[in-house]
């Protein structure tokens, strides 16, 4: 690991933008392209939103941890909560699936993360929480 940062913040929707900004600022150390930054910002936004809506059910006192690490040209992002956990991870990953259709969700959260990152791993235990780990190599588009 070359460098890392870790932030813990309450499960407030206003912190979705904060998490995006913090990730982009940290990722700037790897000199990403504009498109790569947009990929990272979008993926982080999805993971943090999932924690707020699904893990904590909008419990505003719960906490979310965002960790970013660089290893060479690779950026690893971990978004962790201690919420309700995911009972069926494969179902949750399925495009258009949403456990909260009444909220007019698109069901594309994990599909977005998978589309914009090189890898997405989900570790979850019902009643204990979820950790979403995403990796992306930065600079590939420039041919670094």
């Amino acid at each position: 690991m070359d460098n890392w940062m870790e932030l813990t913040f309450p499960s407030l929707s206003v912190n979705e933008g904060f998490a995006r900004a913090a990730t982009a600022a940290f990722a700037a150390l790897l000199n990403p392209t504009i498109d790569e930054l947009s990929d990272l910002r979008t993926a982080v936004s999805e993971a943090v939103t999932n924690a707020i809506i699904h893990a904590y059910g909008n419990d505003r006192s719960a906490m979310i941890t965002l960790r970013c690490e660089t290893r060479g040209p690779k950026l690893r992002i971990v978004v962790k909560d201690t919420g309700c956990g995911i009972e069926d991870i494969e179902l949750a990953r399925r495009p258009f699936y949403t456990s909260k259709p009444e909220l007019e969700r698109s069901g594309m959260g994990f599909a977005v993360m998978e589309a914009f990152m090189d890898s997405v791993e989900i570790e979850s235990a019902p009643g204990e929480g979820t950790a979403v780990t995403m990796e992306k190599e930065i600079g590939r588009a420039r041919g670094d």
Partner: protein, 104 residues
Amino acid sequence: MEINASKRGPRLHVKLSGELDHHSAEQTRNMLDTLLKDITVRDLTLDLSGVSFMDSAGLGVILGRYRILSMRGGHLTVTDLPHVGRLRHRGQSVRRRVWITGWS
């Protein structure tokens, strides 16, 4: 989220400016639905050229408005879909699916 709307006959043009994520989705949805209470609106154009960020929560807002317009036989056109529109599903980009089918 800032909304600027203009109406001409059955056509409503709405320009959104700001970030469209879960945080701003409810406010945006409510503002759009207030405009769509006018049942003479048949064609809605959502101009997203001023949207600096959008994620799947924003896609949910768009799809919900598409359903409202479809139920009254209307149409939705989205212009300048942000970065998330690059997402591909079953070989087709979200940008194209939103435009043509409402992404059903």
